[in-house]
């Protein structure tokens, strides 16, 4: 169990914008009689492709939060979506999927993680798009 919870302000982010929210981790020790084995939480925003082609993937610069001695954390975060990134895409031959991953750095143990899907849309489109391109002909942004 990672003990992690991710809260996103919005699951939709613009290219060149930010993915923001809060990350929580419940304490797993009291920090006085027993220190937690958890040392930090790392947040990584990345994309990968699925479909007919070979996989492409890339991670944006991440964030790392040091944990209290009891292993607890409650903090806000803001991760930049690089301006030259691809948008989320759900096509015939390929898909581009964006994921926010939170991973707990555990001393001498496998690092548990949780993930949240993020939809990255074109700059200026956060109020118009709520799903990956291409959009069905019945769902189109209105001018």
């Amino acid at each position: 169990m990672s003990g992690l919870t991710l809260y996103l302000d919005s699951p939709v982010a613009e290219v060149g914008g930010f993915v923001a929210g809060e990350v929580h981790r419940a304490p797993d020790a009291d920090g006085i009689t027993d220190d937690s084995r958890a040392r930090a939480v790392r947040l990584t925003l990345s994309y990968h492709t699925e479909g007919r082609g070979d996989e492409d993937s890339r991670s944006a610069p991440g964030l790392e939060f040091a944990l209290e001695a009891h292993g607890g954390l409650q903090t806000r975060f803001e991760l930049a979506v690089p301006g030259n990134s691809p948008i989320s895409y759900d096509g015939r031959l390929l898909r581009v999927l964006w994921t926010l991953e939170a991973r707990v750095d555990l001393k001498l143990a496998r690092d548990p993680k949780i993930e949240a899907s993020v939809v990255v849309v074109p700059r200026g489109g956060v109020s118009l798009y709520d799903r990956p391109h291409p959009l069905p002909s019945t769902i189109r942004p209105q001018r």
Binding site: S85, P86, G124, S127
Partner: protein
Amino acid sequence: MDDSRTATVRLEPNVGFTRPVLGAGVLVGVLAMVFAVTGNWLAALVLLGVVAIALAALGPNRLRAIFGWKRPELVVDRSGYALGSQPTLVYLRKPRRLTDVSDCRIVGKIVCVERVTYQQGTTSHTETHTVFEQQVQGSGEGTSDGLRGEVVLDISAHAGAPTFDLGDNEVRWSVELGTVGARLPRDKHTFVIDVTAALDERYLPGLQDL
């Protein structure tokens, strides 16, 4: 259009079999001359016949395009085009020698394709799928510098995706253009354009009411 923001894009010539046929024609022609010089007239005539058939296969339009006109250029915005935008692109084509160019039509289409590559053993395969295709049309006229035309594109805000090339997965936009008019070649050329991951300002909240 401000010159510092524009560029002419390289085209992807739809040469098809033109170059191989022309190359083979030149080789066979040289061979025919060798036969003629050595007195083997029958072989020379046969080979000249082959050259004539090759040129006929290319057709007068293709020959007119090759020998009468330089390759066309498209003037585009260096910064690319936003989704939902309707840019006007300038099409230019210069003749190789003085030619009277009458008014003409610029015809073609704008296309968005998905393109993926994958390895199977030691072989690399490529697949493409057309996501969006729309006819475009404009007008052209003769100038002192050759043919100059304009076409207005309508870049869909919802179909396809902005241009991206991730390595093995790609979305690419292109414009295929040709001319229709008297004494103009009816060949077509494909120009790659860049569609940016931004929505045109016409779609931004509030602006449409200004």
